[in-house]
């Protein structure tokens, strides 16, 4: 188990390093003077000799592999560079924004899981009634609505028309509710579809028929014998969804002015603040890997047959 964990962590570290090198390469290959990209167009007014000195200081006179290696080395020492936009260390910028995004993602995932499980179980429980096609259709539609449009519709309904919740900005749970709901609704639809399919599969198993035959109540059969065995695929989809949700965070934070990492990434890109962009990629990649590991460990609890070596 320990060896397995170490191997996973090692493999993950190699992947993150590779990703950072690729992103660094993409940025280096971008058209235009990298020094301008690093320090802003303001330096074009400086004399040539001074610019050359800055170029050497920034290490931009060296070949790209050396630059990439130097960047990776700095990241390993915990130095993510300096944000051009604010002049502050990238690590500080990220640390300032991370809690808001973690809160948003956690709230959204909780909502998505609750809603997805309830709707999925309902659709499976009423699989032979008029309710199932209705729910399935709603889920198909729900999965197709882009998250930023959901955001705009909720924004209009709950903060502009009804005036119940604030429209924009960060703060307490009242600010969090609408962004989390937009993001959660987008993820709930695929979760509910998987829950329904997995539960229907599980309910067809012989032990479920046996449980019914023994006279157990319907809810008990559905939840204890069906859902218990349907949870593994649901967790897998939840994890994949979380990755996609982290992408959607960018849009939701833009709609609601939520001061998180997604907002930071867009601001950084608009300002061509590339050190900051790379920082956001690093944090996201580590988060995705950590979630993947968490999911695999969850299987241990959900399915006693699973063993990791």
């Amino acid at each position: 188990m320990v060896a397995y964990l170490l191997a996973r962590l090692g493999g993950g570290a190699v992947s993150v390093a590779l990703l950072l090198v690729v992103v660094h390469g993409l940025v280096a290959a971008a058209p235009g003077d990298p020094l301008v990209a690093l320090l802003g167009p303001g330096i074009l007014g400086l004399p040539e000799a001074q610019r050359e000195r800055m170029r050497i200081e920034a290490g931009l006179d060296r070949p790209w592999p050396q630059q990439a290696a130097a960047y990776l080395g700095a990241v390993l020492r915990g130095d993510l560079g300096t944000s051009r936009r604010s002049g502050r260390p990238v690590a500080d910028e990220l640390r300032g924004r991370l809690p808001a995004t973690v809160a948003l993602a956690a709230a959204a995932l909780t909502l998505a899981l609750a809603l997805g499980l309830i709707v999925g179980v309902a659709a499976a429980a009423f699989a032979r009634s008029w309710l199932d096609p209705l729910l399935t259709g709603a889920l198909l539609l729900g999965a197709a609505v882009p998250v930023y449009w959901t955001g705009l519709l909720l924004l209009y309904a709950f903060s502009l028309a009804l005036g119940w919740l604030p429209a924009s900005g960060g703060g307490g749970w009242r600010h969090l509710l609408l962004p989390a709901l937009s993001l959660g609704l987008a993820s709930a639809a695929p979760l509910a579809r998987v829950t329904r399919a997995a539960l229907l599969d599980a309910l067809a198993a012989p032990h479920v028929v046996a449980a019914r035959a023994r006279g157990l109540s319907r809810p008990s059969v559905l939840l204890r014998h069906g859902l218990r065995n349907a949870l593994a695929p649901v967790v897998t989809v939840a994890a994949i969804d979380l990755g996609r949700m982290l992408g959607g965070v960018v849009f939701v934070e833009a709609v609601f002015g939520w001061p998180g990492l997604g907002h930071l990434a867009v601001d950084a890109i608009l300002a061509r603040d590339l050190a900051l962009v790379q920082g956001v990629v690093l944090v996201t990649a580590v988060a995705v890997l950590a979630l993947g590991l968490l999911v695999d460990l969850t299987y241990l609890r959900l399915d006693p047959r699973v063993r990791y070596r």
């Binding site: 609505v145 930023y148 992408g247 990629v281």
Partner: protein
């Protein structure tokens, strides 16, 4: 219009009706955007400051924006750009990813290992973030956004094609082709690669929906199509600014994106089911059914039933 014929004996018609609905939805959208110049009341960039932020009316079925431009004309012309660019983007990602997957699947172990490490590294970054980084490097615009999304989706296709090639290579009919003296190149391109067509088409259909959303999303953030060219995302960003006064502005672009994604998802799901049926009936490609598999379950020695 001819309805779908009843299942003919002897030949299997496997596309679920929902797939037909999806295909129709996509076709209607594509045709409507092609006919945009004839369906629009005015040009999409025609400004009329006397008619700003007007609600829907007989002349302007979807109202006008803050510059008095026709929302109907802009929604139609935006689709004309977005949908076709999305098609090109998906084709490019499928071609590039397919080539990479073919190379990795056919190459000796070391190159394969290297390529797949790279693909796995790219896959831990959400496609949208990867696209954002590339747009950041290239600068905003329609084609930078399209290139970024194509690159961001390429790893998915590479993994998919490689996995099909690795499983197909072991099938008896490929062995028969080798035994009958076909050269490796011919075996790979004529016998093994076609087995990947089905899964690639399914993946491309589903990816199409994602690309439409992401392309409009980049426009929404100001990183995609640049004004004054009409774009669904840009229309939504403007609608947000005028939300209290003109809520109708956000309806058309949002509904258009939703319809495109719904069409792509319905068609993709139906194609996947049809393909799985064919494989189940003893057809060529051996496919993984839709049930998700534990991460890393394919790695030997990784997971052991106790």
């Amino acid at each position: 219009m001819t309805g779908a014929p009843a299942a003919r004996p002897g030949r299997r018609r496997r596309l679920h009706p929902s797939g037909v609905v999806g295909a129709t939805l996509l076709a209607v959208l594509l045709v409507a955007t092609l006919l945009a110049p004839w369906l629009s009341p005015r040009g999409p960039t025609e400004v009329d400051l006397r008619r700003r932020l007007q609600p829907p009316s007989w002349n302007e079925p979807l109202g006008t924006d803050e510059l008095g431009r026709s929302t109907l004309a802009r929604a139609l012309h935006a689709g004309r750009v977005s949908l076709w660019v999305a098609v090109v983007t998906v084709l490019a990602a499928a071609a590039a990813g397919g080539a990479l997957g073919l190379l990795a699947g056919a190459a000796p172990g070391r190159l394969d290992g290297l390529l797949m490490r790279l693909v796995d590294a790219l896959l831990i970054c959400p496609p949208l973030l990867l696209a954002l980084v590339i747009v950041g490097a290239l600068g905003p615009g329609l084609w930078p956004a399209a290139i970024a999304l194509a690159v961001a989706e390429t790893p998915v296709f590479a993994r998919l094609v490689r996995s099909v090639i690795l499983t197909t290579r072991e099938l008896p009919y490929v062995e028969a082709a080798v035994a009958s003296g076909a050269r490796p190149r011919r075996v790979l391109l004529r016998h093994v690669l076609p087995a990947a067509t089905g899964v690639v088409v399914v993946q491309a259909t589903v990816t199409m929906g994602f690309v439409v959303v992401a392309l409009a999303g980049l426009g929404f953030l100001g990183l995609g199509v640049q004004p004054p060219t009409a774009d669904w995302g840009d229309m939504l960003a403007r609608a947000r600014h005028h939300l209290p006064a003109a809520p109708w502005l956000m309806l058309a672009p949002g509904a258009a994106i939703t319809a495109a994604v719904l069409g792509a998802n319905l068609l993709g799901d139906a194609l996947r089911d049809a393909l799985a049926d064919r494989a189940g009936a003893g057809g060529g490609a051996r496919l993984a059914r839709r049930a998700p598999v534990a991460r890393g379950a394919g790695v030997p020695g990784h997971r052991r039933p106790g």
